[in-house]
């Protein structure tokens, strides 16, 4: 049996060049890169557009003391909230005129305050805003605070002391193991990061796996295959195909991920320039170097799936049959994907630990444990060793299916035929 190289390189080089030169590839990559940059910047853009708006609320009361107190207190409470909304709280004497301004859209709301017979404050808001409006919710919360303050004063508590009642209580979280648990906001960012990685891995494996399978089926339907298998061994063709198409896929993937990373990096800068305050780049709190070993498993898992995709793709005679022929890979991928999502909430569970060692699932499950739990050195070794072993196994099985599959035309993809192909040589 001849070795893999140089023929696998020859095949891979052709595959890569042909793929990367197509207009579809260039357009799709450019569009995805734009999306990649755009998503992190989206919140900034939203705030830029929404940030200019000021919420104007007029306060009216027949009691001038209540009115002025409400304006001051409500203004203080609302401006104290740091969600970025700008408030314009004003007192109005003419309720009817203010009523018209609300209906004209000049004012967002007219708040009428009155003191009932039992001394309780009552609020009535005239507005076009719906019940789910965020600013209305904020005003409502503020009025509650105002009422409580008012009740305390009426109960005889000194107004200056009443302010202290609302001061936040110190509350600290002490982890059992200071190394294992990260502070709360870091954990949140890590959780988000893990989720993003699972989704990205899943997409890469499926999309580029399909590319490989489709490309094998294309060679079959264009009948180049018969020349190819005369010129090179199935293993050379298969690994060349996986490497070439895989490299093209990873090129696209790298461009998009780099664009997204650039977007995140720029977010703070752009927010500062445009909005005058810092961004919310919470990902900075995650140590991204933790992810370096994951790269190895990403590539390994990718090769594993792509190799089997190539083998199964050889069973299809036409592009239309590719989906069906590669169905099993999709199912395996889905299992890993969902396992990872369930595992997000129980990163310490034993089944997550086991799944993170199995080659078909490790690309999905490992980043979760990496970011949200911890991994022992021996686990890295076991997962890596299994990955390498499975890769060789997959190449063997796929080459078998391939050498039988490439000459089968017009037959329905069936798994008995595939099984026979694996057992019997051609």
């Amino acid at each position: 049996m001849s070795g893999l190289f140089p023929n696998a390189w020859t095949v891979a080089r052709r595959e890569y060049r042909q793929r990367v030169q197509t207009r579809t590839f260039l357009i799709v990559t450019a569009v995805l890169a734009l999306v990649g940059v755009g998503i992190p910047l989206l919140p900034v853009a939203v705030r830029l557009i929404a940030g200019d708006e000021t919420t104007a609320v007029a306060i009216h009361s027949t009691d001038p003391v209540v009115q002025s107190q409400t304006v001051v207190a409500l203004g203080a409470i609302l401006h104290g909230d740091s969600d970025g909304t700008r408030w314009e709280i004003t007192a109005v004497g003419d309720a009817a005129a203010a009523d018209v301004r609300v209906r004209d859209g000049d004012l967002d709301g007219l708040l009428t305050v009155s003191r009932a017979g039992d001394g309780e404050l009552a609020f009535d808001m005239l507005t076009e805003a719906g019940p789910s409006s965020q600013w209305l919710f904020a005003v409502r919360q503020a009025t509650t605070q105002l009422s409580i303050g008012d009740r305390l004063v009426r109960a005889g508590i000194d107004p200056t002391a009443a302010g202290g009642i609302f001061a936040p209580t110190p509350f600290e979280v002490t982890p059992v193991d200071p190394d294992a648990k990260s502070p709360e906001e870091t954990y949140g960012a890590a959780y988000m990061m893990a989720m993003i990685m699972v989704v990205l891995t899943f997409m890469a494996v499926l999309t580029y796996g399909q590319w490989v399978a489709g490309s094998v089926a294309e060679e079959k339907s264009s009948r180049v295959m018969e020349l190819l298998i005369t010129a090179a061994t199935p293993r050379q063709l298969l690994s060349g195909k996986v490497l070439g198409t895989g490299a093209a896929g990873l090129t696209q993937y790298a461009v998009v991920v780099a664009a997204a990373a650039g977007g995140f990096a720029l977010e703070g800068l752009v927010a500062e320039r445009v909005l005058g305050d810092g961004g919310s780049a919470s990902l900075e709190s995650v140590n991204l170097w933790v992810l370096a070993p994951f790269g190895v498993f990403f590539v390994g898992g990718f090769l594993l799936y792509a190799t089997l995709y190539a083998g199964l793709g050889s069973m299809a005679s036409r592009q239309e049959d590719v989906q069906m022929a590669t169905g099993p890979m999709l199912m395996v991928g889905m299992v890993g994907y969902f396992a990872a999502f369930i595992g997000l909430n129980t990163p310490e569970a034993q089944w997550v630990q086991v799944a993170s060692l199995i080659p078909f699932f490790s690309p999905y499950v490992l980043p979760i444990r990496m970011l949200l739990a911890s991994i022992e050195p021996w686990e890295w070794l076991v997962a890596g060793g299994l990955m390498v072993a499975f890769l060789f196994g997959a190449l063997w099985v796929a080459a078998r299916i391939y050498s039988a599959g490439v000459l089968l035309y017009g037959q329905r993809v069936n798994f008995r035929a595939m099984w026979r192909a694996v057992r019997v040589n051609r």
């Binding site: 042909q18 264009s222 009948r223 018969e226 020349l227 298998i229 005369t230 010129a231 090179a232 061994t233």
Partner: protein, 318 residues
């Protein structure tokens, strides 16, 4: 040492594609593999190339099993033509040459020579899909020989070519043979075989019914053909009275007669002279390959092809 196919059998499900097929090809010969569609020619070629494995039997070239031979021993032109349509001609050819280990510079030079020979040098940098079917077929032929294979195996190389291109390809065949290559090809066209082949095998339903040099195969039929013309042109009913003689065709101005084994063709001439006929033509010939084929397979090869085409077209809306 020749190419030896030794009692090779191959079964695809219920179909016995090859049934103990045996034949051998002398090095430096042009060898014709004749048979109707579905006779097993393509399967046989694929097994020789080791892209299919036989259920039993073996193949050897120069005394070595085909499973031990490097792939560059063989050049192959499959029946179903296929190239990378979107790639330029030169790049496709360099790609296949590279798979066989031919350096790029050498491949480029040889491609130039062959494109000249096939009178299509201006297509060098065009995409394959821009070429006509006939020209694609020439490109495919070049792809099969760039690595200088010892044995060239071609499945229906002449099908779909116009007469000019058939002639160009025939010249290329002879060129390859002069370089000491061994050529094996399958075809339905008996005239081409008569013109090019030193030896043949006729395959029917997976079995070799006859094989050997063209002359031996013809002689082995044990009968000869006589073509006779006389000035009288009386219809020649009398010849059928002669023992061992059958009238097989009435030509425009001659009669074609078959002489069974054991009978002497010259007795026809003697009988004609005895009748006082004035003989203008008397020719003793071996039977044509067409006749040999019909004798062994029971039907003509070309008719079989048409029937096959008609049959395959039945499912298509016309």
């Amino acid at each position: 040492m020749s190419l030896v196919v030794d009692s090779v059998s191959k079964r695809f499900g219920p179909v016995l594609a090859l049934d103990a097929t045996s034949f051998s090809v002398e090095p430096g010969h042009i060898f014709g593999l004749l048979g109707a569609n579905g006779a097993g020619k393509t399967t046989c070629m694929r097994i020789v190339l080791d892209i299919l494995r036989p259920d039993s039997g073996s193949i050897s070239w120069q005394g070595r099993a085909n499973t031990d031979l490097p792939r560059r021993t063989w050049g192959y032109l499959p029946e179903e033509r296929g190239l990378y349509l979107r790639m330029p001609v030169i790049e496709v050819l360099r790609f296949f040459a590279a798979l066989y280990g031919v350096p790029a510079a050498q491949a480029t030079a040889e491609v130039g020579e062959w494109l000249e020979r096939f009178r299509i040098p201006h297509y060098r940098d065009r995409r394959v899909e821009e070429l006509s079917k006939g020209n694609q077929q020439k490109i495919q032929f070049i792809a099969a020989i760039l690595h200088d294979p010892e044995v060239l195996i071609m499945d229906e190389p002449f099908s779909g070519l116009d007469p000019v291109n058939v002639q160009l390809l025939k010249e290329a065949f002879l060129e390859m043979r002069d370089r000491g290559k061994t050529l094996i090809f399958s075809t339905h066209q008996m005239e081409t075989v008569e013109e090019l082949c030193e030896s043949i095998a006729i395959v029917d339903a997976g079995r070799v019914v006859v094989s050997g040099t063209v002359r031996d195969v013809k002689r082995a039929m044990g009968r000869q053909v006589v073509r006779l013309a006389t000035e009288e042109a009386d219809g020649g009913d009398w010849v059928e009275q002669l023992p061992g003689v059958t009238l097989i065709r009435r030509g425009e101005d001659y009669l074609e007669l078959q002489v069974r084994d054991g009978a002497d063709p010259r007795s026809i001439l003697a009988a004609a002279i005895a009748r006082g006929e004035r003989v203008t033509r008397f020719e003793i010939a071996d039977p044509s390959l067409e006749e040999v084929f019909i004798e062994h397979v029971g039907r003509p090869a070309a008719v079989e092809e048409e029937r096959h085409l008609a049959g395959s077209g039945r499912g298509v809306d016309r």
